[in-house]
Symmetry: D2
């Protein structure tokens, strides 16, 4: 094992202590050299030069660089069409090769060759992030993104990702990034981080890629509990009782770390692999749920308010205490929102619901007063829900969800819906 683990160390060490300054040649010339046959020989050096050139560029220069990629290194649609026609006739391997070659923009090979430089993968992810930020103002640049996406889908293939346990023994430079990237329940400082990682009822897992070993791609925070929790404040309370008779693992926060990998999805794999990991290490844990926000609820209630006084009442509440008397209504309306509010494509309006239901999870429980923070009150009037991951059923749930737009839900959720609708009708 150890020999193999050393491979990674080598990968990492390859980074140059002090990268050379940018070359004096214009970047388009360097790109051409890298793409030419000459590039095969001096690829690493050229790639390093181009990346170091890029790093030193102003925003305007980056726009020009991307425009160069978009216009001058595009594919030639006429040549593609001809090659396709030819292959349609001959069906010969040679003609397929030609078609594939013609159908790939030259910039894609450029990006592939740039990746030869030490540490390049990380820089290319950042380069795409720059691109994504420029697209709104310069939509034409979006053509380049097809190539980034195609390459990243290959490079960040699930088969190359590595799941790592994150704990208080993890190197500080990684932990620092966990603090930075936490997107759901902010981590304030190192003390707060310690509270998330050190107690015996907490776990954290992240995916890494071998070529970016210091950058987590996505991570999930897990709390071990007795029973299904109905309040995130209770879950994170510092003075909670640390049960040792855990039977439930709660995924209470999932954070994507790399904006530059937008569209390359890891969350589904991460949750499933973590479930398997926990099952192996903690056989006593038999239930795997989330404690998830309902981010679109308040907006939906607002639309509903004119017709439904109980929605309006909920929206009027100025602090959690005021919700208490309305808890039943909140739970019923949340059930209705998650089970009935659909987009034009038939999928739920709520993005978190779409994510977990799309992963094959089931809508399990609905809680009022579950997130009494200002943000919880604002976005969902304190409601939160548990999605349940039952590995035996995720495929079937997912299939029904995808093909029939059917939301898998517990009896409790259906009962709430029924009650709510009855109430709604009565009013």
């Amino acid at each position: 094992m150890a020999f193999f683990s050393d491979l990674m160390a080598t990968l990492f060490e390859r980074r140059p202590a002090s990268p050379p300054g940018p070359s004096k040649r214009p970047i388009s010339e360097l790109c051409e050299a890298l793409l030419s046959s000459q590039g095969e020989i001096s690829g690493v050096r050229l790639a390093r030069d181009i990346l170091s050139h890029y790093r030193a560029m102003s925003l305007d220069e980056r726009v020009s660089f991307f425009q160069h990629l978009a216009q001058d290194l595009d594919l030639d649609p006429v040549a593609v069409a001809e090659a396709a026609a030819k292959y349609g006739t001959t069906r010969s391997p040679e003609d397929l090769y030609r078609l594939c070659r013609e159908a790939e923009p030259r910039r894609q090979e450029l990006l592939r060759r740039l990746n030869q430089a030490p540490g390049a993968t990380e820089e290319l992810v950042r380069m795409r992030l720059d691109l994504l930020r420029l697209v709104p103002d310069t939509p034409r640049l979006r053509v380049i993104d097809a190539d980034f996406q195609h390459l990243f889908a290959s490079w960040f293939n699930r088969g190359f990702l590595v799941l790592r346990h994150i704990d208080w023994r993890t190197p500080a430079n990684i932990l620092e990034k966990i603090i930075e990237y936490e997107a759901v329940h902010a981590i304030n400082d190192w003390h707060d981080l310690q509270r998330r990682l050190r107690p015996s009822d907490r776990r954290c897992f992240a995916f890494f890629h071998p070529a970016m070993p210091e950058e987590p791609l996505i991570f999930v925070e897990v709390a071990l509990c007795k029973g299904v929790p109905g309040s995130v404040q209770a879950l994170l309370a510092e003075e909670r009782e640390t049960e040792s008779a855990f039977d439930t693992a709660v995924f209470y926060s999932i954070s994507n770390c790399q904006e530059g990998l937008r569209g390359i999805s890891f969350g589904n794999s991460l949750i499933k692999q973590v479930v398997e990991e926990l099952k192996r290490d903690l056989p006593q844990v038999s239930r795997f749920v989330t404690l998830s926000p309902v981010p679109g609820l308040a907006r939906w209630l607002k639309e509903l308010a004119p017709q439904r006084p109980e929605a309006e009442a909920l929206l009027r509440a100025e602090e959690p205490a005021a919700i208490k008397a309305l808890a039943d209504d909140l739970r019923k309306l949340t059930a209705e929102y998650l089970l009935k509010a659909k987009r034009s494509d038939g999928l739920p309006v709520d993005p978190v619901a779409r994510f977990h239901l799309g992963n094959g999870a089931l809508l399990h429980e609905i809680h009022a007063l579950a997130d009494i923070s200002p943000n919880g009150l604002r976005q969902s009037r304190t409601a939160m829900v548990n999605y349940l991951y039952d590995l035996e059923k995720v495929e079937q749930n997912n299939e029904s969800f995808v093909t029939e737009r059917k939301v898998a839900a517990s009896k409790q959720a259906h009962a709430l819906l029924m009650q709510g609708q009855t109430t709604g009708r009565k009013q």
Copy 2:
């Protein structure tokens, strides 16, 4: 560093102790499921099933499977042509996306998803090897290879490879593969291997890929010497003097290990990275040469023999001793062969020369009686040559070689050529 190195261990451990038996569903159905939206959910399991199915197949079944990939999961040339035409007109990002999607055979996505399974990369490399072996009999299958090549070029991108020092402390299962894959000067057994790895004047380096940590991709064996060596037997002699005043590193054997990665070239990068590594560790070593066979020489002499009595004389020699008197002629003819014998594309006939000159090396010295083994006598009448790697000049050499077909050669080589041609003319 250690944290990062652990990532790799995790990668490796992910392999299932006992992989599940093949599923009962037909493989084409499994492939369809993996490609469908359902595949996103249960990808790892489906991929594992398909691969385990594949492993259990007979040769005929594999042919059918590949035919399925070739025919049923191809791209649609008509759709490609239409998408190309559309993009030609609009130049809109959406239309480029559509074109890229249409121009990619569905089997490529299938292979990408198969790679999710633990240990899949290695199996896909083997699958391509099966394919390459079937192509001569079923040329139609070569269409699939375009997809393998495209993916492998991304996956085995230089930026993801890891250089490892191989020595007597390397795990036995890796060393076993070094014995198996050595292609130039066979390693007979473990004792022989030890002689290649253990002495202080020997080095060995290999490239690995993080997802195939137990499989070297290519390796090079290095001997440290005083001066440029002119005999492989002397170089490998067991009783040689172990100089400590080395000034020369000799690459005397380079072996590709993975036939399934044919066409994905690593040798060029390997040599250059090893030169850099050795320069750092052994500052006293200032010269980097090969001691290379001249595999096409005897064949070329045979063609030449009718007109050139000295070639005929060389071909008549039945043992190395007989070459002794003809050593000068042999060296002159070798120079002529390497500098003048060209293919229709203007590149040297000799494949080893093409490889090293194409890497930017220079033809440095030519030796007679340098390989007196039966094989050396047969293929090159005992001649061997040194190619010199001077990192300062490899780019320029390579450029002249590629653009002008110019062979970089030392004065000694040119002098031999001149003498040989003078002799030739006189006769």
Copy 3:
């Protein structure tokens, strides 16, 4: 974890690439310098000098060196006696400190300081081996061994040892030592080694010390079986069926590796830790036995032969086939030998029995025709036995063995003894 594992790498790397040549000063002067206060400053360099001096010594010079240690760096018995008397009166801590200081030969501190040099621990173990080999001719030198033993007992304390799984992924330089040190059933070559390590029904474990990471201290080879095996040839047969329904782990070979650590016992701890390890990894394995030789049996039969015709018959057998008819007698006599043949201190004559019974094992089964090799025939007329390690009972067994000299044995063993004695009496 990884951070901590790196510690070891550092330990290892500390060894000098090329140790300096021996200093010109006489070794006794260097030793004096190392022991003086000056030594604190330049200890590492002095220690390295002394060890390199020692390595270069002839046998005679080593004898002189040891004599110097024995005579000139001894304790002073008069000073010890005085300090003891003083402490007897005052019982003051200061006087105890003085007594401890006086009661420690100066050479002990010398050895402790020698250990500062990189790689010194291994060299000191070799130095003691030299000493042990000289003692028979120069018994006076044995005084030094008290100091080696005292230090090694501290340094090689069980708490510092590390259990490692040895398999086909272990570095070749370690495996080479497994071949070299195997003491029970010789490993002929690398192919043979592979057969011991690679099959799924084989395991091997070794103890290492952090300061000698390339030197196993002791190792045990384990075979997984269904049922308790009664033949070592069957156990090691190349074409055996590889059961997967293992229920028994068989320790069929235990080898001490470091003669220089004689008297520092590891075997007991090793077996117990391996039992725990296997229990955790292979819950289906519920029985832990040895398959052990009976090395003293033939000698004992020879003594017995005049009175016991069945012993004489066994001794006459010239090949295993001839034992077949006498198998019952052989098993009865083996039971008698192991249960009744005692040394003057009441412990069994058989050294292997003493080891395992002393560890708390129980004499479980007795087999004839269990080792049909020439050596098996010679030393035990083909008999072998299983000792059973039942962790629940080892303490109690050991206590009875130590305090009452009682041999824990199965009903089968007792029954054989009874039958044998009945037969014996009848004749």
Copy 4:
């Protein structure tokens, strides 16, 4: 390398996830069992029981436990005296063995056997710390400390220690201890720690022991500078210029971490090994100095004040600004203090001076206004000094220091002394 590094991981993992509760038997009985032959069998379990018993004890119970060790497990002075007399007569190895056995208190073997339990080394270090804290009130217990010291000197032998680079990639649980143990210039929080570790002109190194891999034993913080620094505030300033043309490494803080290892000295080795490490990694650094406090200066000035008005003036200064005008006097008096103020044994009064001069360093430069913190003003009126480590001269310096009590000092320091004495005389 990797194989060996894994050894450590194993060491570490051995710790039980949940240690068993204390046994019901009284601890003295458990100790007796561990010391008896029975202990050999069940040593690990007994050792674990005793340690877990100890952990659960109240302070009073610990005193009783130590008293048991002191009285009941002591050596027998009469037996020692007899054995010494016998060995004095016979000089036989057997009698030496007997003497050694008698001269070792039984508690020493007990401690050795306790160390078999996983994680025991760390617990024994803590146990000694308990002991050291009890000794002032119960001086009799100090007899036990002889045994702890003897064992720790063997166990923590320089040859077993491991030097580790500490940086921002070090695991958080180790870094947390660096914050906790920093003894010279307090680290306030994680942000402050980052400033000590992350900048390119900072280094930190620590010694670890393989059996306590999560506990640094001692660490040193290093700043890289251009020239010899004369102010700790400037050295630690957040906005300093980060020179890349470093020529000097400054050891500005050395902290012992384990009070339980008091008397086992590591600082000398640490500094020298770090000097060697830095020389190898940063060849441009040619000077190695400390920036050290002068903790006893103010006290000495107070004694001097009656006779020396310039000392009195310095003591009157209420803030650093007031020292400015007196800087010359301060530097002269500091020179006088370090070169002339001696204890009865002839060594300098100043403890920091004793440490560095005893290591073979040279008193290099003396600075006023070098530590303008309240503590710096209080203890040394803002003076600090550089001690210079010149590896070529440390031995010679140390020898003169130890044998002739000679303080190695630069010309500048001697010049200051001369001026000061002249001034002093004049007044």
